[in-house]
């Protein structure tokens, strides 16, 4: 056990880093939960966990596809990043189409008076009694950044697990590494979602400043999970 850990300690560190990246990335993704689904809050109308999991698992799939073709860590992380960014980008774009053309509300943020990126006026477009609606430019950009970080994190966890030397058959090994990555991913998607209390608009939201708390929590928890997963895979 100790020998396996010593030989793979770099991967323990990398898995922990990946988990922390996932945890941090969730703070960038504009999540509005149920209120957003009714166009009463800015963001995508679903829960943090579902969004983070969706982006992360897409990143995992794209990273896994790249892993078949190359051993280059940079390429695998880039594939994971781009996969998650596309997934979250498409989700936000379709969401905006529904908000604008289906519900008929302009994308507007209730947290800032002017969009930090486009400098467009926000507050006069926010409907009465709502916390904003749709995905203004700043939320969209923030979401893309979040997707990218989450994808890198998910891919890093998976790549590290797939790099551990072991004696398993390849199908068993891929399955085990994938389910470990999924488990670690879900834990790190839930922790930040408790930190932000379920809804956040993006990096311009005052709640964004709370990210260190989630990152510290994820650091400790992922480190434990990383040790457990490295011992499991390396020992087989």
């Amino acid at each position: 056990m100790a020998g396996v850990l010593a030989a793979n300690f770099l991967y323990v560190i990398l898995i922990t880093l990946g988990g922390v990246l996932v945890s941090g990335s969730v703070h960038f993704v504009p999540v509005g939960g149920a209120p957003a689904a009714m166009a009463q809050a800015t963001g995508i109308g679903t829960g943090t966990v579902q969004l983070a999991a969706g982006a992360g698992l897409t990143g995992l799939v794209t990273a896994g596809a790249m892993l078949n073709l190359t051993d280059s860590m940079a390429l695998i992380l880039a594939a994971g990043m781009v996969g998650a960014m596309i997934m979250i980008g498409v989700t936000m774009m379709v969401g905006n189409l529904v908000y604008v053309y289906g519900i008929g509300v302009p994308p507007a943020s209730a947290k800032v008076d002017y969009d930090p990126i486009t400098k467009d006026r926000q507050d006069i477009y926010v409907s009465q009694g709502t916390e904003g609606h749709g995905l203004p430019t700043v939320s969209f950009v923030s979401g893309i950044i979040g997707g990218g970080l989450g994808g890198i994190g998910g891919a890093l966890v998976y790549y590290s697990l797939m790099s551990i030397a072991n004696g398993m058959a390849s199908a068993d090994f891929v399955g085990l590494a994938a389910i470990f990555a999924v488990g670690i991913f879900f834990v790190n998607a839930v922790i930040p979602s408790y930190n932000i209390g379920g809804t956040i608009e993006g990096f311009h939201d005052p709640k964004f400043k709370k990210w260190p708390k989630a990152v510290v929590t994820s650091l400790i928890v992922t480190f434990m999970c990383a040790i457990v997963s490295v011992i499991t895979i390396g020992g087989l």
């Binding site: 056990m1 939960g33 149920a34 209120p35 829960g47 943090t48 966990v49 579902q50 999991a53 398993m168 058959a169 199908a171 068993d172 891929v174 399955g175 085990l176 389910i179 470990f180 999924v182 488990g183 670690i184 991913f185 879900f186 834990v187 998607a189 839930v190 922790i191 979602s193 408790y194 930190n195 209390g197 379920g198 809804t199 708390k213 989630a214 510290v216 929590t217 400790i220 928890v221 434990m224 999970c225 457990v228 997963s229 011992i231 499991t232 020992g235 087989l236």
Partner: protein, 271 residues
Amino acid sequence: MSAGGSGGGASEAIPQNKLIAFGAAGGLIAIYLSYFMVQFAGPAFSFIGALGAICAIVWGSAAVRRVASYGLGTGVPSIGMLALGMGVVATMFGLAIGGIAGPIVAFVTAMVIGLVIGALANRVIGMGIPIMEQSTTEIAGAGTLAIVGLSTAMTGTFMFDVVLTEIVATGYIALIFIVAGIAILHPFNANLGPDEKQDRTLSTAFEKGAIAMIMAGIVSAVSAGASAAPTIVIGLAIWYVSFSQYNKYVVRDAYDVVGTGLLPKEEEESE
């Protein structure tokens, strides 16, 4: 989004300690009983593992109910996914290094991870839920026993070499992950509200556990160490009983249940 929490402890007809005993002891005993019965009496007894999973699912649902009634600040599903995320990591570790003690190692590992997450959630993130530590510990343990129980029902053993090739490599682990996760998070999520009652929520948990059992039965059809028919038949029986019971509780808790009949004809006056 609010989780529909009342901001306080949920009222309990059955104290949590009894449910812990039911879930932890019942789950572990059923998993081991299933394993030994399959060894000595044949694969027909693989269904006992799924009974253990149902015990764990009911316990997990009760723990979710307790903690989520304080209001998690986000949806109830989050804590179910957290449970299975912790659970799947701990299960793979426990079964891989534990051998015959695998389920116990997995159970203990999960509870340690759960305790750490609960402590950090209160101390670092500052969720301020008094029972957070206990609840995440319980939920992680319940999630783990549900995974091990369903795996045992699918393959007839919890030995890692078999679980690895028949559950993990085939991808059924993903099915277990989501089915057990939904079974643990859904009962309270479906029943929450001002008139939520513990017995109604737990009857939903039994019903969801039975659906998981039926699914495990279907998967076990292709496994040499487990037999599908008893698992599916017993699962259906449990589902029928628990769903009828749930229906009774719904009728009991509703203000009134009336048949609306067919749509009124145009000439009839609508009341």
